[in-house]
Every structure is written in structure tokens, then in C-alpha cells.
């Protein structure tokens, strides 16, 4: 019976902690949110199941976790810890993104810049709370509302906070339909929300072909730290728009991004082991993340109102909220809030412009933070 005792000592019933139990419940909640509310299911299901798997207590000497060099989860997590998965996700995003609305609305690009105020104010807030500069940079980027960018920067600047930052980023991206509408209504008048915008012009194939190369050059000559993320995103977009590499673009936005999404989500989830995850720092990161999303939303909306002071063709300031990224959820939220005032006002296509600009904007912000803080 020695073997039995020995074995029982290794079972989860003997070694389960309260922390593990909490994390398993959180994992289940993530999966339920994904299934019942359809909130970012492609990320919440893998992360949720990963969190469950990562919190099954195992004997220490078996070395099964993402942090145990040589374990299976270690290898799957390697793409997270080394920042390899996020650029590959960006490749797929580039290969599925149509920049047409942005190309036909150059003014709206600025809203994607304005929303980055959330990143930098949160950075200051995190420093005020006692985080180091590098940690603060990684926390601030949660406000970029872009999961891969947040994971990438956290992997580079603050690996020990990666789990919390990733979970915060994805949680709030999932909660965009809950967080944004009250802020948007608070900061706009009914008249503003009723503004209709002229339909975007048609964009030629050549414009779409030239755009990824030039936009890449402009943004990375200014912020070389964004070279990997934006290089991959605009590469993916070029594969799509060049029209001669369609089979590569199709694979990049289907099998390839799916495989990486599965591995990234699951291993990020598995990295949220209670002992490293349930800390005061994680709570602070969640608080700062919520703040960051709120500021970013406000930044986009208020900047749109500022621009309206100078424009003759007014922008509907709701569209500014889409500058946070969280593609395409925040654009849909804009559409939804707009239609609550006027069911015949179609803002979706206009909101897509700041939406994709916001992705570029936060990648640049990440590049700047990485350059300055390395």
C-alpha cells in the first residue's frame, strides 16, 4: 500500500490549493462567457481551458508547467515567452484586414492615434502605483486593446507579469460591449450621436497594394521597435492585396492563424498558475487595465469632438471610440450605440477606419515603449 500512499500524495485531491480552485473557476467562467455571451470565444475558450489545465496541481518534481524547462507546456509557451506567436497572429490579421475604409477616410486615422492616450496615462498610473518603468510600459499597453501587442510587449519588458497582462487585455476586449457604451453616451450629446457621415469613396486595387509597404516604412522609420509586429501585419496585408499570392494569404488567415491562436490562448491560460497569478499586482493590473480602456475610449471620442471644431464635414464622435482597436468589436459597439439614437444611421464602415488605425497606433506605441525602456 506504500505505492498507493505515494501515488495519493501526487493526486490533485492531496495538493489542491484554494488558489488553484479559484483559477479553475475563473477558467470555467471564461468558457461560459464565450459560449453564452459569445464574447471573443476564439480567445476565451482556449485561455479558459488553459487556466483549468494549468491549475491542476501536479507533483513539483514532474515539472509539467509552462515554467518547467523541457516540459511540453514549456515548448508550447515558448512562442509566448519569446514573443513569436503575436507577430504570426498579426500576419494573419493583416491577411484578413481590408484597409479600404481607412484609405477612403484619411482623417479618421487620427482617432486611432488619440485612443493611445489610454496607453500612456496608464503607464504613468502604473509608475505612480509603484511598478517599475518596464512593468509600467507593459501594463499601459493593455489600453491598446490588442491582445497580441500586449503579450508581445509584456514578453519583452515584464515577463513575470505576462499572464496577468494577457488575461486583463483579453478580458477587457471581451467586455468592450459592456465598458464602452456608458462612456460614449456620457461624453456625447444626442445631436452629436445623430451625425451622419458621407459614405466612403471606392478605393482602387493599386492604392491597396501600395498602402502596406508605404505605411510600414513610415511607421517603422519613426518607431523601429514596431518593426516585427507591423512588419508581419503589413506583410500579411501585402500577401492579400498583391493579388498574386492569394494562396499564401488564405493559409495565413486560416490554418496558420488558427494553429497559433490555439497554442497562444491555451498556453497563456496555462501560465496563470495560482501561485504566480493570484497576487496583489495582478489585481492592480486589472484595475489599471479597466482605467486604460476607459481613458482610451474617452480619448477617441473627445478627439473626434476636437476635430469637429475645425471640420466642415463633421465626424460622428461615437466613431472615436473605435480607435481603441478591439477589432471589430468596438466598431460594432459604435454601430449599436449609433443605431439606438437613429436606426438608419450606419456607422460601422466609418468606425472600421479608426478601428484598424488603432491597431497600428498601439503597435507603434508598443514599439516606442520597447525602444525607450530596453
Amino acid at each position: 500500500m506504500d505505492t498507493f500512499t505515494e501515488f495519493f500524495g501526487t493526486t490533485g485531491f492531496a495538493t489542491m490549493t484554494w488558489g488553484n480552485a479559484i483559477m479553475i473557476v475563473i477558467g470555467i467562467v471564461f468558457i461560459m462567457l464565450a459560449i453564452m455571451k459569445d464574447y471573443e470565444p476564439l480567445l476565451l475558450v482556449p485561455i479558459g481551458m488553459g487556466a483549468i489545465v494549468g491549475n491542476i496541481p501536479t507533483a513539483d518534481d514532474m515539472g509539467l508547467s509552462v515554467y518547467d524547462s523541457g516540459s511540453v507546456l514549456y515548448y508550447l509557451y515558448f512562442g509566448v515567452s519569446q514573443g513569436v506567436y503575436p507577430p504570426l497572429i498579426f500576419l494573419g490579421i493583416g491577411a484578413m484586414t481590408d484597409f479600404s475604409t481607412m484609405l477612403s477616410n484619411p482623417k479618421l486615422v487620427l482617432l486611432g492615434a488619440a485612443a493611445q492616450v489610454g496607453v500612456f496615462l496608464t503607464f504613468l498610473g502604473a509608475i505612480w502605483l509603484g511598478f517599475s518603468f518596464q512593468e509600467a510600459g507593459a501594463i499601459g499597453i493593455i489600453g491598446g486593446a490588442d491582445g497580441p501587442t500586449a503579450i508581445f510587449l509584456a514578453a519583452k519588458l515584464a515577463p513575470s507579469l505576462l499572464g496577468a497582462i494577457a488575461i486583463a487585455a483579453y478580458s477587457y476586449m471581451a467586455l468592450v460591449p459592456v465598458i464602452q457604451p456608458p462612456i460614449m453616451r456620457l461624453l456625447t450629446t444626442r445631436e452629436e450621436r445623430l451625425i451622419r457621415m458621407a459614405p466612403p469613396r471606392k478605393v482602387s486595387k493599386r492604392e491597396k497594394m501600395i498602402f502596406p509597404v508605404v505605411a510600414f516604412l513610415i511607421s517603422t522609420l519613426i518607431a523601429p521597435g514596431a518593426v516585427v509586429l507591423l512588419g508581419m501585419m503589413f506583410f500579411g496585408n501585402l500577401l492579400k492585396e498583391s493579388l498574386v499570392t492569394d494562396r499564401l494569404a488564405r493559409t495565413a488567415r486560416s490554418a496558420m492563424i488558427d494553429i497559433v491562436t490555439i497554442l497562444l490562448g491555451f498556453s497563456v491560460g496555462a501560465s496563470t498558475q495560482a501561485e504566480t497569478f493570484l497576487t496583489r499586482q495582478s489585481l492592480q493590473i486589472f484595475g489599471l487595465g479597466a482605467l486604460s480602456f476607459a481613458i482610451a475610449t474617452a480619448g477617441g471620442v473627445l478627439f473626434a469632438k476636437l476635430m469637429n471644431l475645425f471640420l466642415t464635414e463633421k465626424i460622428n464622435p461615437l466613431v472615436g471610440a473605435a480607435g481603441v482597436s478591439a477589432v471589430p468589436d468596438s466598431a460594432r459597439v459604435v454601430q449599436m450605440v449609433g443605431q439606438q439614437e437613429d436606426p438608419h444611421n450606419f456607422l460601422l464602415m466609418h468606425a472600421m477606419a479608426p478601428n484598424v488605425a488603432g491597431v497600428v497606433g498601439s503597435a507603434i506605441a508598443a514599439g516606442v515603449l520597447w525602444s525607450v525602456l530596453t
Binding site: T3, F4, E40, L42, D329, F346
Partner: protein, 108 residues
């Protein structure tokens, strides 16, 4: 035949008593564990329908299929749908103002 073959190729080692009992212990523990786990799973499965009946009173199952209608979420998967929607709106709006469009492009 197979045991014969095995016996021919090998001379079973002289096992210590400790090794013998340890081996027996591992094998029997292992089998007990496997049975325990699968019996628990079996019991869980057997009770699942009644359990879900209780749940369904609070929370009717209809909701599930509703989650299929396109709702906020699903960043990656729905991009294509969004783009298609945009494309459609663009297309219909465009046709109304093909003439105006050219001049707009030049003006820009």
C-alpha cells in the same frame, strides 16, 4: 507460442522481494486508479441528464442556439463577415453616387 519465444530469448532476472512487491503494488494501484477515475466519470455521465434538467428550469436551453446569431465578439472569425457587410453597404451606397464619387476622389 509467444511466451515460449520470450522464454527462449531471455533468462528472467532474479528479482528481489522488494522489487517484486513494488511491482505488484504499482500494477494494482494503477488498475485501481484507472477504475476509480472511469467509474467517477461514468457516475457523472449517468447523473448529467438529471442535473441538466434542474439547470434547464432556471436557464432554458433555447438560449444556446441564440448564441449562434452574430453578436458582438469573435474578433478574428467575424472579421470576414464585417468586411463583407461593409463591402455590401459600400457597394449599394456607391452605385447611388457613381458620378459624385469621381469628383470626391479628385477633391481629396
Amino acid at each position: 507460442m509467444i511466451p515460449l519465444l520470450l522464454a527462449q530469448m531471455t533468462e528472467p532476472r532474479v528479482m528481489t522481494d522488494a522489487d517484486f512487491w513494488r511491482a505488484i503494488g504499482i500494477a494494482s494501484t494503477g488498475l485501481v486508479i484507472v477504475f476509480t477515475a472511469l467509474i467517477l466519470i461514468s457516475l457523472f455521465i449517468a447523473s448529467l441528464p438529471r442535473l441538466l434538467e434542474q439547470v434547464a428550469r432556471i436557464w432554458p436551453e433555447v438560449e444556446e442556439s441564440a448564441s449562434h446569431t452574430s453578436h458582438p465578439g469573435s474578433q478574428v472569425a467575424d472579421n470576414a463577415a464585417v468586411v463583407a457587410a461593409i463591402g455590401y453597404v459600400l457597394h449599394t451606397e456607391m452605385q447611388k453616387q457613381m458620378a459624385a464619387e469621381r469628383s470626391h476622389a479628385n477633391k481629396n
